[in-house]
Symmetry: C2
Subunit: 461 residues, 2 copies
């Protein structure tokens, strides 16, 4: 037993985190045999986050059996680590007593995360099992807008009057009945509870007892308004290397604190959203069922169908040209496809730069100029290459010239559209990651086919 455990641990190490296949297989085998003891032994070394991953990766039938066999061992943290798509299913499978116990174990911010997407009756059922103080805290958090700092923060804060010394702070903390599970700073506040500084516990440890806290507070001090969007919160943590930051209400009074691990999770989610939206995939995860996935993918494909039909209409304008010179049919998708790709490159860089706030009024015109120039240079290079293909493949200098000219036109337009469309969408308040792709490929398809076939109609026929 010991030996096989070691090998498993080593393999685990090699793959650096994540679940290893053999353990998953062993767990499923234990579930199959209803062997609770082996199951518990196998699950024991796993972190709640890994158990959540495991539940996401197996099918619904195995999931149900595993949860029922695991029973009382089911920890609240597993619930908060679970992907939303299967969290509700898991909560329905769980024994109500186990669920109540699991929820009671959680911090108030995790309970908020757990219940915020449930409908009212399910929400009430969960909140009912909480102690009064916790329930009030959760309800208060739920009163802040979704995706705001208020939903993200923990309410337990360690604070000190701004005139205190290191010694006073240490004595206060060491005599406190209860300190938050996670805290890295003491927040300095003025008499009206307005935060005025942040002192790390490390600095408190390093300083002499009679040093004023105000003298060792951190240089970088950012206060987060409770209504601020969580995306901005994550940006501030990443930009200013914050570890924790005080959250204030409209009057500037301290109401909670956000720690970097929550900000990191938000950053990760925002990235996921951007990357999926750029590909035209709605919110979703691997554990979603066929029906949900089909629904998520459908809208973008429908938009693309409209784009494609528009392009087909452009082509059909030139049916006579194509009938006269059928080689055009083979060559025309090349120009459109190159434009689509170049446009996607520009728009991705633009969307990313907007998200990281690197694209601003100060450099917009320079970036536009650069994108157009890059389109022009690459357009010229590929024009020469495709022109040569046209000449050698079809032996026609005019065909080579037409495809070369269309290539340059479409790559310049692609650069321009790739930067202008996301910027415009951003200015009018639409997420550029969501809609830019459809607009840009429409432009490059229409311009690509129109330029190529139009020039062909003029110069070849």
């Amino acid at each position: 037993m010991k030996d096989s455990d070691n090998t498993e641990a080593e393999e685990h190490q090699e793959d650096a985190y994540g679940l290893d296949r053999r353990r998953v297989a062993a767990i499923l085998f234990a579930v199959e045999r209803r062997d609770r003891e082996t199951l518990l032994a196998l699950m024991d070394p796993l972190h709640a986050a890994d158990i959540a991953d495991l539940l996401e990766q197996i099918n619904a039938y195995d999931r149900g059996r595993l949860i029922r066999l695991y029973d009382r061992e089911f920890d609240g943290e597993i619930l908060s680590e679970l992907d939303e798509s299967i969290r509700e299913e898991v909560m329905q499978v769980l024994n109500p007593a186990v669920l109540a116990e699991a929820v009671r174990d959680l911090d108030s911010d995790d309970v908020v995360d757990l219940v915020e997407d449930l409908d009212a009756s399910e929400q009430a059922a969960i909140l009912d099992v909480l102690e009064d103080a916790d329930r009030v805290a959760v309800e208060q958090s739920l009163s802040y807008p979704e995706n705001s700092a208020g939903r993200l923060m923990q309410r337990e804060v360690v604070m000190a009057p701004q005139h205190w010394t290191v010694g006073a702070a240490i004595d206060h903390m060491r005599s406190a009945d209860e300190l938050p599970e996670q805290f890295y700073h003491v927040v300095l506040v003025d008499p009206r509870l307005k935060p005025v500084g942040n002192v790390t516990l490390g600095c408190i440890m390093a300083a002499k007892r009679d040093v004023a806290l105000a003298d060792i507070s951190e240089e970088t001090f950012q206060v987060i308004p409770v209504g601020q969007d969580e995306e901005d919160v994550a940006y501030a943590f990443n930009q200013y290397h914050l570890i924790s930051a005080p959250v204030v209400d409209e009057d500037g009074r301290l109401v909670g604190v956000i720690t970097i691990d929550d900000a990191m999770a938000v950053l990760d989610e925002e990235h996921e959203e951007d990357i999926l939206r750029l590909a035209g995939v709605g919110e979703g995860s691997l554990s979603d069922r066929v029906r949900d996935t089909t629904k998520q993918r459908f809208p973008w494909l429908a938009v693309n169908l409209v784009t494609a039909i528009l392009a087909a209409l452009v082509i059909s304008l030139f049916e006579n040209t194509i009938a006269a010179f059928v080689a055009l049919a083979a060559l025309m998708p090349i120009v459109a496809s190159m434009g689509g790709n170049a446009g996607t490159q520009s728009l991705t860089v633009a969307v990313r730069a907007l998200a990281t706030r690197d694209l601003t009024g100060a450099n917009l015109w320079r970036v536009i100029r650069r994108e157009v120039l890059v389109g022009l240079v690459n357009g010229l290079i590929f024009a020469v290459m495709m022109g040569a293909v046209g000449v050698f493949w079809f032996g026609s200098w005019s065909l080579g010239g037409v495809i070369a000219a269309a290539m340059v036109i479409n790559l310049v337009v692609a650069g321009l559209a790739g930067i202008a469309i996301p910027v415009i969408l951003d200015r009018i308040g639409v997420d550029p990651a969501l809609a830019s792709g459809a607009f840009v490929t429409t432009v490059t398809d229409v311009v690509g086919f129109f330029a190529f076939l139009g020039l062909a109609a003029v110069f070849l026929i």
Copy 2:
């Protein structure tokens, strides 16, 4: 002066972080007039990260003038926040004495970040200005592989023997000559310097003096091997909600510690890399010049040209069919384009799931089955729609049938290729974000044109 400053501060607040346009304009105006005093007043409230952003957003000429006017105020931290693309340029503009001072101010891990991409002679010039102890630390870090935990860690660690009590740890820390600027844990070590646990400073504050440190050490304890890839480090921090983690050498001995802010920066870079690679854009940033950007974009466009020519060859096989029924030329890009989009959806979900380790041996077959089914269902829906378009637009039931059948075939193939290609690339050690797009669109283009025109050749002519 006061008033205008306030308004600016408020505006700044509204836009939630980042630079505001008016301040950038005022700074450039001060540079124009060579008004050092105003420049310093305007720059003073800015965080080093914001100053770095400012330098990235203005053009090279203004950048040089600003740096020369700012002169001795130039802080080392600005250098480490700067994007690599302009960092070298800035270092060349800086007065050598200012540069030396700036570098001496930095922590050793920041110096490593600064010099790791310089060539040997430039690297030596920078290292020469460091004090001996610092230089040795930097050189040691540089001896670890690029992008490894060794490059990321700070060498200053607060540790305690595993048998110590809370009181002993507090006395030790409070009497230490120097503690690291940033630390959140005391690492427990055994007599051979092997880390065996992590105790947060918060827990030490909350516990009584005679409690053993081992009894209040964190439940989740992850040790990072010094050679581990930084991507895996970031994954571990995000997955297990770590704040700091000890780094060990091959013998398991403690050599440093990595903190979450560095892991968050890596996570952010990895995401940037993924999102840009998926769009066929190499490493790069907005501040790159036209020449660099053109070079970054060229390879993917060249690959796409090959794909497009391949598709053109497929089309040219059917020139007779198209000549006989020229409407096919207008309709054929629709099937290819829908396949390309559906394939991109699948591959993006797959690439993301591979990055977050949500796609494993345990659920691979289920995910493949799901992608194919989603392709089939969406394929059938769009087949009906496009079939109807074929019938009404061209009045031909057989044309409608051909386009419908080609649509179903291509969307099923797109789902299959979209999941299989990234998984295969990942298994053979190629970054799926980098190359999947080219392969998947090749497949969907070729299959799309071949299925549509091939069916048309059989059933329409």
